[in-house]
């Protein structure tokens, strides 16, 4: 079992308990807030210029290390750049990293999962072992290896994080496909004489894949956090790109003098992770509630 599978089971269980909700369809307060937050993030991604108050890269050494004020809501960093604006500017980058990494993980996981569940006994066994092997490289270690080979940088970091999540997805996808294939409604379709191709399109894929989208949203947050860790180790995004993880690690060194440099990017990351997770769960409840 991995963190992803964990999340899977969690949302499943939660959804299971939440049937009534699914019927009533009235979202919870938390979901609404999370939704609002995500909308904010998307806005920041789409039109940073409007959301930000200043040029995120405008350096003025003169007003470095300004504490939060009306002029600089979140204060300024060591180069006098407006932290709020940088966080806004960083939204795109960070989300991109999170999303891309997740997509990579999902795609790979899907490939393996489908192979395992349709490739027959031998392939299944092989894939299973392969997944085990991938699991044997804990996330950051795998990332480090990839970086040793491919050299540091945001792209590598993203790929690395994506890779390290793949086995988790693979297992879930396999599990779902297998369980759906042996489900009664697929049997019913066979009894009606439906050919495999049609069963795949009509039943297997929709029922197996849509939950994955949900799972994806749950993964994004963690991807961002891991990418941040790589930035801390100096193996992540490159300046002046305002990436949250990079800002965080930059601020860390000035913790003694300028707490705001760490706190606000930190809150951005934590907030995003939470928001995506909450939304993901809400989605999942709809998802499973429909059953």
């Amino acid at each position: 079992m991995s963190e992803l599978e964990l999340r899977q089971t969690t949302v499943d269980a939660e959804a299971a308990h939440d049937r009534e909700w699914a019927r009533r369809g009235r979202p919870r307060a938390g979901t609404v807030i999370a939704g609002a937050f995500v909308v904010l993030l998307l806005a920041a991604t789409a039109f940073p210029a409007f959301v930000a108050t200043q040029d995120p890269n405008a350096i003025s050494a003169a007003d470095a290390f300004q504490p939060p004020s009306t002029a600089h809501w979140f204060g300024t960093d060591e180069s006098g750049r407006d932290i709020y604006s940088r966080i806004v500017a960083g939204t795109g980058t960070s989300l991109l990293i999170g999303v891309t990494a997740t997509v990579i993980g999902l795609a790979l996981g899907l490939l393996l999962g489908v192979l395992a569940s349709f490739g027959g006994r031998v392939v299944d066994f092989g894939v299973g072992r392969l997944v085990e092997v991938l699991f044997a490289f804990p996330g950051l270690l795998l990332a480090l290896l990839v970086i040793v080979v491919a050299g540091p940088g945001p792209v590598t970091a993203t790929i690395a994080v994506g890779l390290s999540t793949a086995p988790g997805y693979a297992r879930i996808i396999r599990g779902q496909l297998v369980s759906i294939r042996s489900s009664q409604y697929v049997e019913a379709a066979r009894v009606l004489g439906r050919p495999p191709r049609r069963i795949l399109i009509a039943h297997l894929l929709p029922n197996a894949l849509l939950p994955l989208v949900v799972l994806g949203t749950l993964g994004i947050g963690q991807a961002i956090v891991w990418a941040a860790a790589l930035s801390y180790l100096g193996l992540g995004a490159q300046p002046p790109a305002a990436e949250w993880g990079a800002m965080l690690s930059a601020g860390r060194t000035y913790l003694q003098t300028a707490w705001w440099m760490t706190v606000f990017p930190g809150l951005a990351i934590v907030g995003t992770t939470i928001a995506t997770t909450v939304l993901g769960r809400a989605l999942a409840r709809r998802e499973r509630g429909a059953r």
């Binding site: 890269n57 290390f65 002046p240 930059a250 860390r252 003694q256």
Partner: protein, 552 residues
Amino acid sequence: MRTATPPARRTRAIGLIAVALAGGVLLAGCQAGEAPVSEEPVSGGTLRYASGDAEPSCLDPHVGGNYPQALLASQFLESLVSRDESGEIIPWLAESWEASADGLSWEFTLRDDVEFTDGTPFDAEAVKVNMEHLKDPATQSSTGYLALGKVDRVEVVASDVARFVLTAPDSALLESLSQPWLAIESPAGLARGMEENCQAPIGTGAFVVDGWVKQERVSLVRNDDYVSPPADAAHDGPAYLEAIDWRFVPDAASRYAALQGGQVDVIDNPQPDTIAAADESGAFAWLDAPRPGASNRIELNSSQAPFDDERVREAFIAAAAVDDGIDALYFGTAARSFSALSSVEALAYSEPALFETDLERADALLDEAGWTERDDDGTRMKDGARLVLRFPVSTNQSVPAEQSLFEQVQAAAKEAGFDVQISLLDLSSWYGALFAHEYEIVSAPYTKVGPDVLRILYHSDSITPAPSGYFANLAQVNNPEIDALLASAASTSDPAERAAQYEQAQRLILGGHYLLPLYDQQNSFLLSPKVQGARALPTVSTPSFSDAWLAE
């Protein structure tokens, strides 16, 4: 930072759990009381040192030869000569020395009362063995090997007289020999072979390597028979300290926190902001010891476009405003430098006029150089090519403040239409980029005693890479005039002439717009008030605790 921010509050709760975890353990923290400064040195005690430099892979500075090794080696190894504040070479293990008229042979008269800590006597034979050890490829020496470039062999004249025979006159020989990388080790110790010697080299120093726990600490204990302090030492005889606990604490914030918490007495490489804080609060003593050799500077790769055009180089230097940045980022702890050499070098030559920021001039020069068009993000173009400057930065060698400064340079240069592309790389990737000439600008420290460092950095010989691909002349300065000056300065025996030639060489180098000096190689230490009598050796500014004591 405890202004009630959510995380802080959250951690409170966690703290309680943490306490529970700690169980009955007494508070290991906070006994950092201000001790009354007693004037009379007291003996005993263990000094706890937290080092932020990379952990050496071998404690023998002959092997390879980098600064982290020097830091530690200075505690247990000693050189033939040393330097005082004024930059004068002074006796250490050698009492006196004499160069032949042609400067091809040097005779060193050694102290005859010194023994290595393993009992082996220190004599001319030992010196001979050490120099041969350094020149032996199997030793994998890099710094020391280069420093002895002109030394052909060492002859034992008498048990206490060693003669260095040179292939060419070397005015830098004494300075070279003063460096920890050429320190004298026990022949018996060397004979044990590299693996063993790397773990605990044997010298004549005030302390002895007692043990090395990888990634944690090196423990050093007092050498009770110590008799050979350098001529400028405060006292003779064994050190006051019983031992030094040398810990590796890579994270700067943790290091300072440890000093504040009283887990350690001395830290190196403190964050500028913490230096400033400590300095004005007076809670900790600040030992500021810039490294000798080159200053920290940005080198401009003049061997390829766009910097093969001097106007573009000049434009960049005129555009890259750094003064405010240095003040802000270093909190006034670092002084702007206008020289290729460290301010501790007596022969350092500064020319501030060359480095005034002047955007108009930069623009004018670039237009003149043909970089007239600009693309939509403001970067200048010339027949299709964008004005891109690749700037590989080593995360191991550039402290955060410096990286921030480079970002500011990036921003400033953008005004003039340069597209500076910083890439933060780990050491290997960084060297990889350099070796492949994938850089227009780069900043690399180089520590060496004496102005001869100029020859290493700017002589055209240093353009041709070593088998490993390494080359020191990153600016790719290739100027016969400069070569000549550096060569003769390195071999002349007349100090005045030497000084003149070095100044002339520096004029040319600075005037050629090959580099943008920033500040001296920062090398600071923060000491808890109870640490007394510690100092940095004027050779390569490594700390020395042979005179230090802990006030109660």
